[in-house]
């Protein structure tokens, strides 16, 4: 599939960058003329993935978060959010609604469930001690 547009971002894992990251991805897709709901869904999903890099991936320190976003010919937006943090041991268990390894930090265990319900596809690849990549796909109606 041909790529119509693409962008790359990298920034440190500071919590003030959560709002920056979701706003940047929203601004990138704006020329596809998305609906308010499509933008809100995409921002929410990006916010979940970026927050996970900060609170889980880099929980033992800080690091860099990498985002790439592409617009494909079929009006599909593909956003990859990557960290080089601690990784996930059991991805299937991590993606189960209400599962969290940080209940004492007031986490609900809903991040992956929100990404799945607000996007058309969510893929997770991860290696313990290497890092995690979350790929979000969303069609923007023409």
């Amino acid at each position: 599939m041909n790529i119509r547009n693409e962008m790359k971002l990298s920034f440190p894992s500071k919590s003030c960058n959560e709002s920056f990251a979701r706003a940047a991805v929203a601004a990138f897709v704006m020329n596809l003329d998305p609906t308010v709901e499509e933008i809100s869904d995409l921002k929410t999903a990006v916010s979940e993935a970026v927050t996970n890099c900060i609170v889980h991936g880099y929980r033992r320190g800080s690091g860099t978060i990498f985002i790439t976003a592409k617009v494909l010919e079929d009006n599909r937006v593909v956003v990859k959010i990557r960290d080089k943090g601690c990784g996930i041991e059991d991805i299937k268990q991590a993606m189960q609604p209400l599962f969290t390894t940080a209940p004492d930090e007031e986490r609900a265990g809903l991040g992956f469930a929100v990404m799945q319900s607000f996007c058309d596809a969510v893929k997770v690849s991860s290696k313990p001690q290497k890092g995690t990549t979350v790929t979000l796909e969303k069609y923007i109606a023409v």
Binding site: S15, S19, E106, S117
Partner: protein
């Protein structure tokens, strides 16, 4: 596009044993930490029978907002009070609907 305010202003109002906190702006992991401190500070000093979180002016929320509400639910239980969340915008309600909060009867 007008710049939306990111730092949440927390206005509170207290009467008849009800503490209402009017949350505005965006709720994410970053802002939830500060909101938690302000809300708990007010609730600890006033010990209201009911803590009411007014979401009418919330523009954005991710799952950190669910954690914030669940945490305040537990906090209120500890001091013998109740929690209610009111004026939840539709797109934000979708996230609450995935949590167990609906069953607790705190969402209006």
């Amino acid at each position: 596009m007008p710049q939306e305010r990111k730092i949440n202003m927390l206005q509170t109002d207290y009467h008849d044993n009800v503490l209402t906190a009017y949350i505005d702006g965006e709720i994410d992991h970053d802002t939830a930490a500060r909101l938690r401190i302000s809300i708990d500070g007010a609730a600890q000093s006033l010990k209201p029978g009911l803590l009411c979180l007014d979401f009418g002016a919330v523009r954005f929320m991710d799952s950190s907002g669910v954690g914030l509400v669940m945490g305040r639910y537990r906090q209120m239980k500890l001091i013998g009070g109740r929690l209610r969340v009111v004026n939840i915008p539709g797109h934000i309600y979708r996230i609450f609907a995935m949590s167990g909060l609906e069953g607790l009867g705190v969402l209006r």
